[in-house]
Amino acid sequence: MNSVRSWQQSFAVRGVSWRHGLDWAIVNVPFYFHPFLVFFWTLFFFFFARCERKAVLSHLTVILPGSWRVMNYFRAFRVFSNFAWTLTEATIYKLNKAPFACELSGAEFFNELLAGKGAIILTAHMGSYDLGAALFATRFQREIRVVRAPELDADSAQHVDLALKSAGAAVKVNYSTEGAALSFDLLNALRNGEIVSIQGDRVVGEMASAPARLFGRRVCLPSGPFILALVAPAMIYPLFVIRLGHRRYKIVVREPIPCRRTARARKDDIASAITRWAEVLEALVRENWNQWYAFTPIFRNEERE
C-alpha cells in the first residue's frame, strides 16, 4: 500500500518523476524540440500546480499594483515558462555540458568579491541560481558553498542533491534545516576565505527571520545571512543570475551591503542591513518579476500599511 502511495506521490508537482522525465528528454530529444516540449510542460504545470499558481498571482498583484487579474494569469504563465526554461537549461548544462553565454553587470563589485577572502552572496529565487553556482565555480575557479532549502519530497531532494554535486567538488551544498551545526560550519567557511551563497527572499520552517518591507508590504526575510556577516565578519554581495534568452544569462552584482557592529544595538545593525537588502531585492524583482520563482506566499500580511 505504501509503495503504491509513494509511486503516486512521485507524479505530484513536487515529486521526482518529472525530474527524471526532464533528464531523459535532455539526453534523448534534440534541442530544436525543446521549445515545443517546454511550452506544453509549462501548460501542464500551470494547470496542476494550483498552490504555486495562486502564490505567483498574489505576488503579481503586489509587484504590479493596479494590474488586471486576467493579464496576471498570462504573466504568471510567463513566470512558469521562465522557470521551466531555467530548469531545462540547468539540466542541459549538467548532462550535456553545453556552453552558455554569460554577461556580467557590476563587474567592479564582482572583482571585489572574487579578490576578497570570505564573503556572503545573497541571492533570491530568481533566474537560475543552481546554474549560477555551477557557472561561478567552474568559470572563476572559486569554491562556493550553497545554502538552500531542501525539497519536501525525499526522492526529489536526493535528485537535486546529486544534480548540484555533479557541478563538481567546487560546489558544496548545505541545507537550511541543518540547524545550529550549519551556522558554525558557515562561520568556519567564511573565516577560511570561502564564499557562501544564501537565498535571502524566503523564510522556510523554523529559519531565523526579521521583519522588512517589500513593495510597501510587511514581509519576513531570513536574518541568518546578516547575523553571519556580523559575526564573521564578512561583506554581503547581492548577486542574481538573470536569464536573458535562449542559453544566455546575466550575472547581476549590486553594491555590497556592509553589516558591521556599531555603537547601536545589534538588532538595529542587522535591521539596517536587511532594509538595504530589501531595497535591492525590490528593485531587482520589479525589473525581473517574470523570473521571481517565489512559489509560496511571501507577503503574509496583506494589509497595506
Binding site: 534523448n28 534534440p30 530544436y32 524540440f33 515545443f36 511550452f39 552558455f100 553565454a101 534568452g245 535562449h246
Partner: protein, 160 residues
C-alpha cells in the same frame, strides 16, 4: 562586460545555415545554442503535425465539436511526439547493439528518425487537396535543402 564564453551562441546546428557560413568563408562549428533554429524546428514540426491531424479528423464537423477537437488535437500532437521520441530511443538502443550509432549521442541519433517521421508527415500533408498542402511542400523543400547542404558540407573542404 561579457564572459570568456560569449562565443557560445556562435554557429548553427542545421546543415543549411552551416553551409551558408562556410560559403562566406567562416567556420561551420556545430552549435545547439541558436534560438532561431530551436524555435523554427519546434514551431515548424508542430504546424505540420497539427495541420495533418486537423485535416484527417475534422471531416464533416461543425460548431462547438470543432473547438473541442482543436484543443484535443493540440494535446494529441504533444503526446504523439513524446511517443515518437520514446519509440525512437528504443530503436536507437536496439541499433546500438548491432554496432550502429556507437559514437553519436542519443539526441543526435534521433535526428535521422525525426527526419524520417517529419518527412512522412510533410509528404502526407503535401498531397492533400487543400491550401495546407503548400505548408507540406514548403517543409519538404526545407528538408531537401538541408539534406543537400549536409551532403555538400562533406564535399566542400573546411576553411582553415
Amino acid at each position: 562586460m561579457k564572459s570568456a564564453n560569449d562565443r557560445a551562441d556562435d554557429g548553427y546546428y542545421f546543415a543549411l545555415p552551416r553551409l551558408c557560413q562556410r560559403l562566406h568563408g567562416r567556420g561551420n562549428e556545430v552549435s545547439e545554442n541558436n534560438a532561431i533554429e530551436a524555435y523554427v524546428g519546434s514551431v515548424g514540426t508542430f504546424i505540420v503535425t497539427f495541420l495533418l491531424a486537423w485535416q484527417t479528423f475534422t471531416h464533416n464537423l461543425n460548431g462547438w465539436p470543432i473547438i473541442v477537437l482543436f484543443l484535443l488535437l493540440i494535446l494529441a500532437v504533444w503526446i504523439f511526439w513524446l511517443l515518437v521520441f520514446y519509440i525512437n530511443s528504443l530503436a536507437i538502443k536496439v541499433l546500438r547493439r548491432t554496432g550502429l550509432f556507437r559514437s553519436a549521442s542519443n539526441r543526435h541519433a534521433q535526428d535521422l528518425f525525426i527526419g524520417i517521421v517529419v518527412a512522412a508527415l510533410a509528404y502526407q500533408l503535401s498531397i492533400l487537396p487543400s491550401w495546407m498542402h503548400y505548408v507540406g511542400i514548403l517543409y519538404l523543400i526545407a528538408l531537401g535543402l538541408n539534406l543537400m547542404a549536409a551532403i555538400l558540407l562533406t564535399l566542400i573542404p573546411s576553411p582553415k
